[in-house]
Structures are given as structure tokens and as C-alpha cells.
């Protein structure tokens, strides 16, 4: 036992060999692993940390489906999905670096505490080399911080707050999903085109970090096209009946309502807004309009009829006609019988991107992977030409402006893509004011 | 001047005059009974003694100190213990622990944060509690759960708990209510014993004439919230006013 030593790393291994017929184990030290959870056997374990309980359980379930599909493809099963359309051709369907991909799943409960606990157990117990998933920014930022400390890679799932790659960015964390700033930058030109420059917006904003950053982004983007902001009202997260927040909009003089809400909040506030007849109203001689900056198909489905004709932005949509999207929708649809959501798409991409980076780096060492992801340019994953920016680990790609479909043909057909906003339009410098205040730090491999 | 002085106490509930100008004086070392028909205000009066109710007017003094506005535990600490109509004991604790608690209350006052001393280390308290159980002849039930005892034993235990505090005044609220005759007689004997051995002043609120006349040295009759007669038992029997109160007016 005296040979067990403590170092500044998380985990050291001391191994013991048992001699045949000898009851007392003889202790031998093996050279310490080069980085956290270095896979020694024939398999490598990835940790999929998604909300399985709570309000975002449906998003989490869809993410899990996509993860399973990605693992199947990486291990050479199925039709290969987007591996065939991906611009990098390193992935051969023989796992990652020749090791078969296995996975463990955990429940984030959409609580930063529970998510960290779940990620920790994946790292400590199941020896996961990479953690991915999540369906809220709070969770993503919390887990990203943990992965940084533990020395594993974090491939963020659905997280839209500017902070994830802004003030809370971390060297070990990577985000494929777009963010609040991009939503604003993509939406503003479309809103200008549709509703004109002479508009007054009234914001209802979920009263917590994500709501605030998105509201800030949208306000800035719309004011840049000449809109005025009548008011920004913060709504408690636990609100179920938004009537008392919607009613004052009626006579406020505003002619656009921006709902900075997500999930159940968005469904409830939109329902209330439609009930109050806002959409049928005319103000200042113009039709009253509602905007939902961040859309997801699952949410749109929950809002039902109410979303028809309402604009918003989204990361990806299954109706896209590029080869990558088509291939993904096909293999997902065949396996599960319905099209994938944007959450499913993002986590599938993240898994492939991680695997590819490992292949290109020739190692699972987080620092090697981080290096090969930084500045990586790729295509064929459904969003057109994309780049993982080195400065903040944010993916830059085209952003979709969508609107609720007027005449849906099926229960999945609730959104239609109005415009694919080119990447150049949503780009911003690393030190943009809305993203300032944090630093990446150095990559941590746990060694 | 008695040990317990009640002067001009009145209490009104909405339209009902529950107590109307009650005056009462209890001599030290005596057993004083308060009787009266249902609704005469006996319980209200008792509640005014123990701090549960605040009378609208008047004073209640014990050994020259006012009890008004004091909380039940403060009144108890002054030396007034109370026995309830249905025995109030710590049913989930053992008989021994039931008696131990008042011993601590007597020694430590109304609050003492003794969180580290072991109960078993408090030898003097344990001896006192054991002696108390021997006195009431319950030492063989020492480790039984209080909830498992018969009604009579519960009454006996409650009495022991009160006595463990060496009260100067014992208030008894219908101590034999709902008891079988045999139990009632036992209780009467127990109270007599206590009175003889310790000379504690007692005030008994009672409805059962048999109990009252076996115990009391003085009786106050209450009717419609006001004392109509106060006298020794012999004179109460057959007193016309008392008959009127219990049987209603003849005309």
C-alpha cells in the first residue's frame, strides 16, 4: 500500500497482481495513465447525460435515440447515416481508433446538481472519456465546468445561452448548437423584411439567466433594424398562467410581442397570447405579430395550432434538403418511425465530431482532441460549411429562420424553413461584449 | 388571605356571559371543590387559572403573584400543576420517562439546553423519579409504554408526574370523569393519601357529588358563570340555592 501515491491528478491506478495460489496480493504499481480514463481495453465508453425526468424528458429521449444511432453507425451498424456525407472521411465504422464504442446514460433531471452528479459517476465509475448531452444552458454550463476539472471532453447538447461559449466557456467544452446572439442576428433581417422597420416590441422574458441573455440579444438585433422596445417584463419561471403578463400588452401601444421563453413556459405564454386575441389585433394600423426567437419542434408541437405563422429560429430542421440532413432523417426515421428533432441532430453531430477528432488526433487525450477540434472546418452534417472556432469553441454555421406552418401535412410537419441565414451574418468577434468576461483556460487532460 | 385568590373575574364569549364576577379564595393545605351543572362555567374558570384563557376583567393571584398573561409553563413553574379530564401523559414514552420529565422540569426550569449530558448520568433525577414511582406503587411498570396502560393507571401516572414537581397547588379537572366506581374510589383514596402525606392544596372541578363530598373541605357552587354558594360540604347538601341551580326553579 505504501506505493500508492497521491498526485495532483484525479485518479491514479495502482494495480495488484495475484500470484497463483498465493492468498496475499502482491502490489505492483503500473505507470500512471496519461490522461483521465485512458481506454486500455478494446472498448471506449462515452457518457450520454440527458434529461430523462422533468419537463424536458421528451427532448432528452430524442437525444438518447440519436446517440444510440450514432453509436450504431460508429460501430459499423445501420446505414452509416451522416458518416457518409461528412466531409472528413476518417470514420470507418470500426469504432473509434479501432475500439468499439460503448455508452452509459444518465439523468440530468434538468438540474445542474443532478447533472453534475450523473456526469461525475460516469467519469468515476464507468470511465467515460467524453460527456455529452443536456437540454438547458444551466446544466450545460455546470457539466462543462465539471468536465474541465475532471479532464474529459464535454460536447454540449441543446444549450442556447450566450454564456456557454461566452463568459462560462471552457477549454474542454465544445458547442455545436447556436446561441442567443445568432438567433437575434438571423431573425432581425427576416423580421425587417416581413414586418417593416417601424415596429415597437414588447418582451416577455423568463426571469433567469438564459432568458436575460436571449432578450438582450434580440433587443439589440431588433433595435439595429430600427425597432423600438416598449418594455421588457420578466416572468417568474414557475408561471403557468401568463394571462396577467399578456393582458397589459393589449393596450401598451406595442405591435410585436417577443416571447423569450422556452419549453413549457413558451407553450403557456404563447397559448395565453393567442387566447387574448393578440394575433387578430391591429395596432397602429399594422397587424399585431408574435415572435418566438428559439423554436424547437417538440415545443412547437406542444403549442399546437397557436404557432401557425409565428417566426423564430432553430438550429436544424428535418425538412432540409441537403445530403447530410436527408441521410440523417432517413436513418433516424427508419429506425424510430418519425423524424429527428434539432436536439437529436445536434447530439448526433457532436458524437460524430468527437469520434472524428479522436481519429484525426490519434488519441483520446482530451488535449489532443481539443486541438484537432479547434478551428476544424467541416461540411456534410446538415448545416452547410461549419467551423469550430478556436477562440471560444463555438460552431459557426448557417442559422435557420423558421415559421409555424400554416397547413401541416402531419404531426411532425409543424415548422417550415423560411430562410437559411448565411454564417457570415451571424458571426461575431470572440471578444463581443455579450460574450465577454470569461476565458477558456488551458485544456485539462487530468494528467 | 388564601394561597389562591380570584377576584371579580368575568369572561364573555360573543353573546354568552361565561363567567360573571367570580370571586374565590382557596386556603393553603385544603381541598377546595368547584361544582356546578353543565355550562356553569367550570372549565372556562379553570382555563383562566392556567393561562389558556385571558379573563376580560378581574385578577387571579397565586401566592400574591398575578397569573394573568402568563403562559401555562410559567404558571406551572410557579408551583401550579394540573390534572386533565382525560389523562394527558407522554404516551409514546415509558412510564419511567414520563416521571423523569417533570423531575427535570423542576430542577432545570422551563428550558435547559442539556444536549450532551446523558440522561443515565443524572443519578439524582433517576432516584427521584424511581422514588415517585414507588410512592404511587407503579415501580413494577417502570419500563412499560405509557400508552399500553389502563385508564386508571394513566390517571395514577399523571398524578405522579404532577407530584414529582412538588406543586404547591394542584388543579384537578374532573379527575374521575368516565371512570368505573372502583377506579373512582381508588382515585379518591389516592388523592386523600397525597393530601395527608404532602399537604398539597388542591382545587377540584367536579360534577360527581360522591367524589366532592368524600374529598372537599370547602365547596364553591357555580351557576351560570357566577358562584352562588361557598361553604363546607355539610351546608351545601340540601342548600336551596344549590338545589335550584341543579334542578331548576320550582315556580
Amino acid at each position: 500500500m505504501s506505493k500508492i501515491e497521491f498526485t495532483r491528478r484525479g485518479i491514479i491506478k495502482t494495480s495488484a497482481a495475484v500470484g497463483a495460489g498465493i492468498a496475499m496480493p502482491t502490489l505492483l504499481t503500473s505507470p500512471a495513465a496519461a490522461y483521465t480514463n485512458e481506454p486500455k481495453g478494446k472498448t471506449v465508453t462515452l457518457g450520454f447525460n440527458v434529461p430523462q425526468t422533468g419537463a424536458y424528458a421528451d427532448e432528452g429521449a430524442d437525444e438518447l435515440r440519436a446517440y444510440e444511432l450514432a453509436v450504431e453507425h460508429l460501430n459499423g451498424g445501420g446505414d452509416g447515416g451522416m458518416m457518409n456525407t461528412f466531409s472528413s472521411k476518417e470514420l470507418k465504422g470500426n469504432g473509434i481508433l479501432g475500439k468499439k464504442v460503448e455508452f452509459v446514460t444518465g439523468d440530468t433531471q434538468t438540474k445542474s446538481d443532478a447533472a453534475r452528479a450523473s456526469a461525475k459517476s460516469m467519469i468515476e465509475k464507468d470511465n467515460a472519456v467524453m460527456i455529452t448531452g443536456g437540454s438547458s444552458s444551466g446544466v450545460a454550463i455546470a457539466v462543462q465546468g465539471l468536465c474541465q476539472e475532471a479532464g474529459v471532453i464535454f460536447m454540449a447538447g441543446l444549450t442556447h445561452s450566450n454564456d456557454t461559449t461566452g463568459k462560462d466557456k471552457k477549454a474542454n467544452g465544445f458547442r455545436h448548437f447556436f446561441n442567443g446572439y445568432m438567433s437575434g442576428a438571423a431573425l432581425a433581417p427576416v423580421l425587417l423584411e416581413m414586418y417593416g422597420p417601424d415596429r415597437t416590441a414588447y418582451h416577455l422574458t423568463a426571469d433567469y439567466t438564459w432568458g436575460w441573455t436571449q432578450q438582450e440579444s434580440i433587443q439589440q438585433a431588433t433595435e439595429a433594424i430600427g425597432w423600438k422596445t416598449a418594455k421588457n417584463v420578466l416572468t417568474p419561471l414557475a408561471t403557468t398562467d401568463f394571462s396577467s403578463y399578456v393582458a397589459p400588452v393589449l393596450n401598451s401601444g406595442a405591435d410585436v410581442l417577443v416571447l423569450n421563453h422556452y419549453g413549457g413556459n413558451m407553450i403557456n405564454s404563447l397559448t395565453a397570447a393567442v387566447q387574448f386575441g393578440l394575433r387578430a389585433k391591429e395596432v397602429n394600423g399594422k397587424n399585431f405579430e408574435i415572435v418566438v426567437p428559439l423554436y424547437s419542434r417538440l415545443m412547437a408541437k406542444g403549442a399546437g395550432e397557436n404557432v401557425k405563422g409565428i417566426f423564430g429560429s432553430t438550429n436544424w430542421h428535418w425538412s432540409l434538403q441537403d445530403e447530410g440532413s436527408k441521410a440523417f432523417v432517413k436513418s433516424f426515421g427508419k429506425k424510430y418511425g418519425f423524424p429527428p428533432s434539432q436536439a437529436a441532430h445536434t447530439v448526433y453531430c457532436q458524437t460524430l465530431l468527437y469520434a472524428d477528432a479522436a481519429e484525426r488526433a490519434g488519441t483520446f487525450n482530451p488535449c489532443g482532441i481539443a486541438e484537432s477540434l479547434e478551428g476544424f472546418k467541416f461540411d456534410g452534417l446538415g448545416n452547410g460549411a461549419t467551423e469550430y472556432r478556436a477562440g471560444d469553441h463555438q460552431c459557426f454555421k448557417d442559422v435557420l429562420v423558421v415559421k409555424g406552418k400554416e397547413n401541416p401535412t402531419s404531426e411532425f410537419d409543424v415548422l417550415e424553413v423560411v430562410k437559411v441565414t448565411p454564417r457570415a451574418q451571424v458571426e461575431y468577434p470572440v471578444d463581443h461584449a455579450m460574450f465577454a468576461g470569461g476565458e477558456l483556460g488551458k485544456c485539462n487532460s487530468g494528467a | 388571605m388564601g394561597i389562591f385568590e380570584v377576584k371579580n373575574v368575568s369572561k364573555r364569549f360573543g353573546g354568552l356571559q361565561a363567567l360573571d364576577n367570580v370571586n374565590l379564595s382557596i386556603e393553603e393545605g385544603t381541598i377546595h371543590a368547584i361544582i356546578g351543572p353543565n355550562g356553569a362555567g367550570k372549565s372556562t374558570l379553570l382555563n383562566c387559572f392556567v393561562g389558556k384563557l385571558m379573563p376580560d376583567t378581574g385578577t387571579v393571584e397565586f401566592m400574591g403573584k398575578s397569573l394573568l398573561g402568563k403562559k401555562p409553563h410559567q404558571i406551572n413553574q410557579m408551583g401550579v400543576s394540573r390534572v386533565f379530564q382525560t389523562p394527558e401523559i407522554f404516551s409514546d414514552l415509558s412510564v419511567f420517562e414520563n416521571v423523569l420529565i417533570p423531575c427535570f422540569a423542576k430542577r432545570d426550569g422551563s428550558f435547559e439546553l442539556n444536549a450532551f449530558g446523558s440522561v443515565k448520568g443524572q443519578k439524582d433525577m433517576i432516584e427521584k423519579a424511581e422514588q415517585m414511582l414507588i410512592d404511587v406503587d407503579m415501580i413494577d411498570k417502570r419500563n412499560d409504554m405509557a400508552s399500553a396502560m389502563s385508564r386508571g393507571d394513566k390517571r395514577r401516572l399523571e398524578m405522579a408526574m404532577c407530584l414529582a414537581q412538588d406543586p404547591k397547588l394542584l388543579l384537578l379537572d374532573e379527575p374521575t370523569a368516565g371512570m368505573a366506581r372502583a377506579d373512582t374510589n381508588n382515585t379518591i383514596d389516592l388523592l386523600k393519601e397525597i393530601q395527608e402525606a404532602r399537604g398539597i392544596t388542591m382545587a377540584i372541578i367536579e360534577h360527581d357529588m360522591h367524589v366532592v363530598f368524600s374529598l372537599a373541605e370547602k365547596i364553591t357552587v357555580l351557576a351560570q358563570g357566577t358562584p352562588i354558594v361557598e361553604d363546607v360540604p355539610e351546608n351545601i347538601k340540601g342548600h336551596p340555592k344549590v338545589q335550584e341551580a341543579y334542578l331548576g326553579t320550582a315556580n
Binding site: D241, S244, A247, P248, M299, V329, K334, T409, S410 | -
Partner: protein
């Protein structure tokens, strides 16, 4: 002025939902002496009765449309609801349109049975147990009910729209001399409010004017005495539990167009309805109704910008986040028995 009127309307609307749930809760407490943490779950189950009926009415025959394709490139499936096939397109669509009102009828027998089974199967074993045990076992039941609903309907909200006729807005302001459009209020919410008043009224009438109701009220006042009269009060209380469940259920059904239900609906309303009950006074029916409306209106006012900024000056930002709890704490401290609670009922 119009802003205040709108918030009063909102408050009455919210308040009627609170009142309906709290009414059942306090009825159960008053009759059976049970603190039922699963009462919010009954509201949620009611809402999902509407969802279920919507699903049943939309059971469809599937035909293929070869001219259109679905997301995989296969021919598009066209669904025709069976009710349309049976009753013709217009009548069928009308039936589907009126799902929510139909669901009220649909839910009543279901909720009565659920209430009966819950009382006989679980609650009755807890009459003699401490309130803490009652709270815990019904809390467990609420979790189970929520999880079962989630397993069958998913975690995302489900829309059950109001009938087209009642889906628009009604301009109440013009009757009061406001300009057109100043006080336009959703018709369904007005319907919900009227419906709630009717339900509350009938419960009071039922308790006041029927023999059954009189016995129940007497039992609430003094259970033992009524039991001594040879009346089987337990049986009557079981029925009361069923009625309380049904009230929560129909409230849930009628609330679906206002707030699309999800499995968390029960928990969302649980805390607030308890606050309503204690503020109104445990076991007081009138108190529950009064407190429901009062808290609904207070909550609505607290969300007004003018009120919020006033409290900000008092260093209380986001007053709308905490108003309900603040009020509850103050009421419980100042008037422990609640607004209309009887003296001595759980008051110490």
C-alpha cells in the same frame, strides 16, 4: 383603469381555478380529516381525461395519398377520424371541436371512480395516522400518478383547444363604456369563470339544502355525535371524497384550453392550492373560495409593472415571484386559523 379591470378579470379567473381545487381539498380535510397532497394530481388527471377523450375522438382510419410523400419519401398517410366516418364530416368535426365540454361529462364518472377507489383503497387506512403520514403517502401517490401519465402521454404539454365558438375574445369593455378593444377578454376564460361559479354554487347548495349535505355538514362539525345517531357517516364521507375528486377533475378538464396540461400540472398546483386552503382556513369551504379569489387577484396585481416597481422601491424586487408565499406567511402568523377558519381547528 382598463389595465386594472383586466387584472381583476385575470385574478378572478386564476382564483376560480385555485378555489375549485382548494374547495375539494378543504372538503376532504373537513370531512375525513385527511391532508391530501395528491389533490393536485386529481386536477391533472382530470385534464388528461380531456386529452384522452381527444385521442379517442381522433381515432382514425388511415388511407394513403400517393400524390404526396412523407418525410421518408413514402406515400403520405391521410388520417380520417372515425367519428367523421360515422356521423359525416360536419357532425364529426363538430364533435371533435366540442371535445372539452364533452370531456366534462366523460370525466365525471371516471373521477368519481378514481376518488372512490383512492379513498377505499388507500386514504381510509390513514384516518387514524398522523397528518405527516397522510402528507407523505399522498405525496408518493402524486409522484406515481404524474409518472404514469408521463409514461403514457410524454412530458411535453398537449393542446386541447376550446370549441371555435368560445375560442375568441369577448369585448367586455364596451358594456362598461370603454373604447372598443380596450378590455377584450378571452371568451373561454369567461366561460371557465362562469362554470366555476356554477360548480361552487352547486356544491354549497348541495351541502345546504339536501339531507345528505346536512349530514355531511353535521359530520364536519362533530363527527362522533353524528356517528352516535346511527348514521353511517363513513359512507357519506367516501362519497364526498368522490365528489371532491370529481370537482378537481372537471376543473382540470375546463382548464385545459387555458393551460395545455403536462404531467407536472398537479405538482404546479399542489403548493398553491395548499396555501389557498390554509389562508382560507383548514376545513372552511367559504374560506377556500374567498382565499382562492383573493390570492388569484393579488397574484395578478403583483405582476403589474406599476406594482412591481413600487415594491422595488421598497427593496423587494420581483414581488410577483414571492407574493403568494409572503401573503401566506403573514396570514398564518397574524391569523393562524386562516381568514374564515373555525376557532380551535388545528389552531395552536
Amino acid at each position: 383603469m382598463d389595465a386594472i379591470l383586466l387584472q381583476v378579470l385575470n385574478g378572478l379567473d386564476k382564483g376560480s381555478a385555485y378555489a375549485l381545487i382548494a374547495l375539494g381539498l378543504t372538503l376532504i380535510f373537513g370531512t375525513l380529516g385527511v391532508v391530501n397532497f395528491a389533490h393536485g394530481a386529481l386536477f391533472m388527471i382530470g385534464a388528461f381525461c380531456a386529452v384522452t377523450l381527444q385521442k379517442i375522438l381522433n381515432i382514425s382510419t388511415i388511407s394513403l395519398d400517393p400524390t404526396k410523400t412523407d418525410f421518408l419519401g413514402d406515400p403520405l398517410k391521410i388520417k380520417t377520424p372515425l367519428v367523421e366516418t360515422w356521423f359525416g364530416e360536419i357532425a364529426g368535426q363538430a364533435i371533435i371541436d366540442w371535445t372539452v365540454p364533452l370531456a366534462v361529462l366523460f370525466s365525471i364518472p371516471i373521477m368519481l371512480v378514481i376518488g372512490y377507489v383512492m379513498e377505499r383503497g388507500l386514504i381510509r387506512h390513514f384516518y387514524k395516522r398522523p397528518h405527516a403520514d397522510q402528507i407523505l403517502v399522498t405525496f408518493g401517490l402524486a409522484i406515481v400518478a404524474g409518472e404514469l401519465v408521463k409514461a403514457n402521454f410524454g412530458a411535453t404539454e398537449i393542446q386541447v383547444p376550446a370549441p371555435d365558438l368560445l375560442a375568441g375574445v369577448t369585448d367586455l369593455g364596451v358594456y362598461l363604456g370603454f373604447d372598443v378593444g380596450r378590455v377584450a377578454y378571452p371568451t373561454w376564460r369567461i366561460t371557465f369563470f362562469c362554470f366555476s361559479l356554477a360548480v361552487i354554487g352547486s356544491i354549497f347548495a348541495f351541502l345546504q339544502f339536501t339531507t345528505f349535505g346536512m349530514v355531511v355538514r353535521a359530520g364536519m362539525a362533530d363527527r362522533e355525535t353524528v356517528g352516535l345517531l346511527g348514521i353511517n357517516i363513513d359512507r357519506k364521507f367516501t362519497i364526498m371524497f368522490g365528489i371532491a375528486a370529481a370537482v378537481a377533475g372537471v376543473a382540470g378538464v375546463m382548464y385545459t384550453p387555458i393551460k395545455p396540461p403536462s404531467y407536472e400540472l398537479g405538482m404546479q398546483f399542489l403548493v398553491i392550492s395548499f396555501v389557498v386552503v390554509v389562508v382560507g382556513g383548514m376545513g372552511s369551504l367559504a374560506g377556500a373560495v374567498l382565499a382562492g379569489f383573493m390570492l388569484g387577484i393579488l397574484e395578478s396585481f403583483a405582476s403589474m409593472n406599476e406594482v412591481k416597481s413600487f415594491f422595488e422601491m421598497l427593496y423587494l424586487p420581483s414581488i410577483d415571484q414571492i407574493i403568494i408565499y409572503l401573503v401566506a406567511i403573514i396570514v398564518l402568523l397574524v391569523r393562524p386559523r386562516g381568514l374564515l377558519g373555525k376557532a380551535g381547528v388545528m389552531e395552536d
